[in-house]
């Protein structure tokens, strides 16, 4: 069993390493990730949003959906902590 697992780990690890060979070089300006919207953000962010900090412009304007999801995650974490730790059922029993 252990040999099967080891073989599977080596195989999947080898596949992942094989997959990285085709990836563009680190910081390559002509890679797909850097050649479509990134130059647009850098050139147009100040003109379009009057926000000198490009990070803020991307975070809250161009990628506003994503940041709304992040805020919802934080809200969900607070609600989950409250539901687990505040002992609602105990309080309800005392009231009755």
């Amino acid at each position: 069993m252990k040999t099967i697992i080891l073989a599977f780990v080596i195989l999947s690890g080898g596949l992942l390493i094989y997959g990285t060979i085709d990836m563009p070089a680190w910081g390559d300006p002509h890679s797909p990730a850097n050649s479509y919207v990134s130059p647009l953000y850098i050139e147009e962010a100040l003109k379009e949003t009057e926000t000198p900090n490009i990070v803020t412009a991307v975070l809250a304007d161009y990628r506003g959906y994503d940041t709304m999801g992040e805020t919802t995650v934080i809200f969900t974490a607070a609600v989950a902590c409250a539901l687990l730790l505040r002992g609602w059922s105990e309080g309800r029993k005392e009231r009755e």
Binding site: T49, N53, T56, A60, A78, E94
Partner: protein, 168 residues
């Protein structure tokens, strides 16, 4: 459980001096997110740190009296609602969700300025949500009576005697 409060004049005085500056700095981080690193997430966490400092120096009762955990959770929801409401306002004005350019006629400014103000609006929502979420989690984890019912019950004579015992 943090039941023993450190009756230390130095700690309390330093906290009393530091807390307003921490809160002003947090508001600066939120408002200056357009020009420097910062924004709603970072400023909200600093605001929550100021509340945590009150909690550590003065104990649970003074801070819970000012901002109850239930109110904090409601304000957290309001923070998310400010964000989503800004997007919804754009949707109602005929644009896409979170398309701040559509706020320009409502605010009466040019489109780039409207997008800048839209970013500021959602940053305020994020700051409120992060501050109250962090505060709520701190009180839930470290407080000894997070529920309002149990908080009321802790004022019974039996519990008062427990709290009044001097530190060993």
């Amino acid at each position: 459980m943090l039941t023993k409060i450190y009756e230390n004049l130095i700690v309390k005085t330093i906290c009393r001096i530091m807390i307003p500056f921490i809160q002003i700095y947090a508001l600066y981080v939120i408002a200056h997110g357009h020009y420097s690193p910062g924004g709603g997430f970072q400023g909200g966490v600093i605001l929550a740190a100021a509340l945590a400092l009150i909690f550590l120096a003065y104990g649970q009762e003074p801070v819970v009296r000012r901002l109850t955990p239930n109110l904090a959770l409601s304000l957290c929801g309001i923070g998310v609602f400010i964000y989503a409401g800004t997007g919804l306002l754009c949707l109602l004005s005929g644009g896409n969700f979170l398309d701040y350019a559509r706020l320009a006629p409502i605010l009466g400014v040019a489109i780039p300025r409207a997008r800048s103000l839209g970013i500021f609006g959602v940053e305020i929502g994020v700051g409120l949500a992060v501050m109250t979420a962090m505060y709520s989690i701190i009180i839930d984890v470290a407080g000894n009576s997070a529920s309002p019912d149990r908080h009321a019950a802790s004022s019974s004579p039996e519990n008062l005697n427990n709290n009044a015992e001097p530190a060993a």
